[in-house]
Every structure is written in structure tokens, then in C-alpha cells.
Symmetry: C2
Subunit: 190 residues, 2 copies
Amino acid sequence: MGRWEPDARERLVRAALDLFSEQGYDNTTVVEIAERAGLTKSTFFRHFPDKREVLFVGQDTLCRLLADGIATAPSSATPLEAVAAALDAAAVAFPPGRRDFGPRREAVIASNSELQERDALKRAGFATAMTDALQKRGVPDPTATIAAELGVLAVNRAYARWADPASQQNFADIARQTLHELRAATATLD
Amino acid sequence: MGRWEPDARERLVRAALDLFSEQGYDNTTVVEIAERAGLTKSTFFRHFPDKREVLFVGQDTLCRLLADGIATAPSSATPLEAVAAALDAAAVAFPPGRRDFGPRREAVIASNSELQERDALKRAGFATAMTDALQKRGVPDPTATIAAELGVLAVNRAYARWADPASQQNFADIARQTLHELRAATATLD
């Protein structure tokens, strides 16, 4: 990455979200995104393979953070404690300055069925990655699958709460609280 | 639907799966599918909007069966009993004669990233439909969401077991047993 573009990635994401909102996803080109960000097309391609991936690279990072968080949780951690560690690890992907990204990203995705389909596959990947990481810790199935699904629900719900402009809490606190609520609700199934 | 094509839909699905396996999804046309099934192109289009939907209409039916099963469960049913009723209702989508459809369908989908993305969105729709149906019964959130997610896991896992050629059990029995195992595993999260 160029040494003169310390925040190039963030600028490109902002420029892309602005353009997608203003003129539509289909009508926006990589050249326009780079121009709006004050960067070159080749800088764009050092960060993203195409314009679609501007909307999805964050999910790849999140998926990796969740899986790593489980892998590096203390060996004494229960399945749900390992999931809580994953949520803590994921919090770095949600700094306060990016609180507006989510709702804007979702609006773009909601406008295009192919983007919705891709988003669904990426989300399904979270559960798979977390299940695999739990199984590597020796958590048997289906416990690993259920813990992972609760983790995904916690991420999705915590994300929506955190993205709310009225929210003041940080992601890690919201996510832990959400996971706790989900765990408590498993006692009300029957 | 034509009165002389009582099993046209099933024949079209079989023909499509055969052709997709033999020559690839991308290389297969609607005309070829209709010919292989001994039917006309216009018969094809009375059953499916395009060749892609041959792979997905079953999921729409399944989604409707699951939601209806919850809606029509006895009013005394707990959230998980309503989900069990949904699995019972879904069983009609899995007659013994279609045991081979699933693995063949999955092989086609695995070969194409766009099909994988569409499949993921359809699967995500199951959870949404079941959650909505539970909420309409007055089940509060997040209980409704968790019960629905367990239902989706039960459907997916039961389906894989049922599709195993060695399996002799019917879908409803497998699905109930799977849901019971998943419920039991929620006690092993911490």
C-alpha cells in the first residue's frame, strides 16, 4: 500500500457509499469512486478487487476476527464464553467513526437482489467459521453449531443497535449484553 | 396446468438435474430440459420462470410449509412445539421418491457461486418466515428468533440425514429427533 494514502481504504469506502446512494450502485464506476476519494484507480485496486467488494470486505475481516477470537479464548472457556471472546475480538471492526457505514451499506444492498444474495452467503459464512473454530477447540456438535448461531445472532443484533445514531455504547458492551439476552431466552423455548 | 401432464413438474426437475450434472448448469438450456422431459418449452414455463428456479422452487414451498405449520399449531403450543409442528408440516416436501434430489441439487449449486449466493438468501428466508410466524402467535423476541433458528438447523440437518441413501426413516421422524437433540444441546453451552 502506498505510504501517502494512510486512510485510503476508509476514504474509498466513504466515496463509494456516497456515490451508490446518490446515483445508484449500477451507475457507479470504480473510476468515479477513486476520483471522489481523491485517489487513483490503481489505488482502488490495491484495496478492492472490484466495486462490489467495497461492500463486503468488512465482512471478511469480521469473519476472521470472530474465528480468531474463538481460537485464542482461554482453554478453560465454555463454548459460550469462547463466543463472547469472539464478540470482544470483533469490536475492533466497529469504531465509533464508522457508525454510519452500516445503515448506508444496507440501503445499497437492499436495492439490488444480487447484492442481497451475496450478503446472505457472507453472513452464512460467519456461522460456519465460528462453528469450525469451536470444533477445533473440542466443542462437540451440535453444541458448536448452536453456540455459533447464537454468536451470529448476537453480532447481527448488536450491530443494528450500535449503528443506531442514538446509541452511545461501544460495540463490545452491546454485543456482550445481547449474547446474554439470547442465552437467557433459550430458557423460554418450552 | 395441462391435464395431460400430471407429473410434469417432477419430470422437469429430474431432466434438469440430469442435464446440469451431465453437461453443466451454464451449458443447459430450457429447451433441452423440456425435450429431455418429453415436454414442450411452454410447459416448462408454466411451472418455472427460468432454469435457475428449477433449483429453488422447492425452497419456496418449504418456506411456506414451515410458516403455515407454525401458524396452525395448537394455541397451547410452546415456541418449540410450534417449530416441531412446522417440521411435521414440512415433511410433505420430502417424499421417499425424491431422496436423490437433494445431493444432486447441492452438487449443481456448489459448482456456481451465483447459485450459492441465491441459495444462502433462500435459506436465510426460512428463519425470517418462521420468526414472523412465531411473533404472530405472540412469541416475544428474541425467543421467536432463537426458536426459528433451531428450526432451520433442524430442517437442514434432518434433510442431510434423510437424503443419505442408507437412511430408512421418514423425514418427520428424523426432524423431530434432530430438534430434540438441538434443544438438549442448548443445555451444554456453559
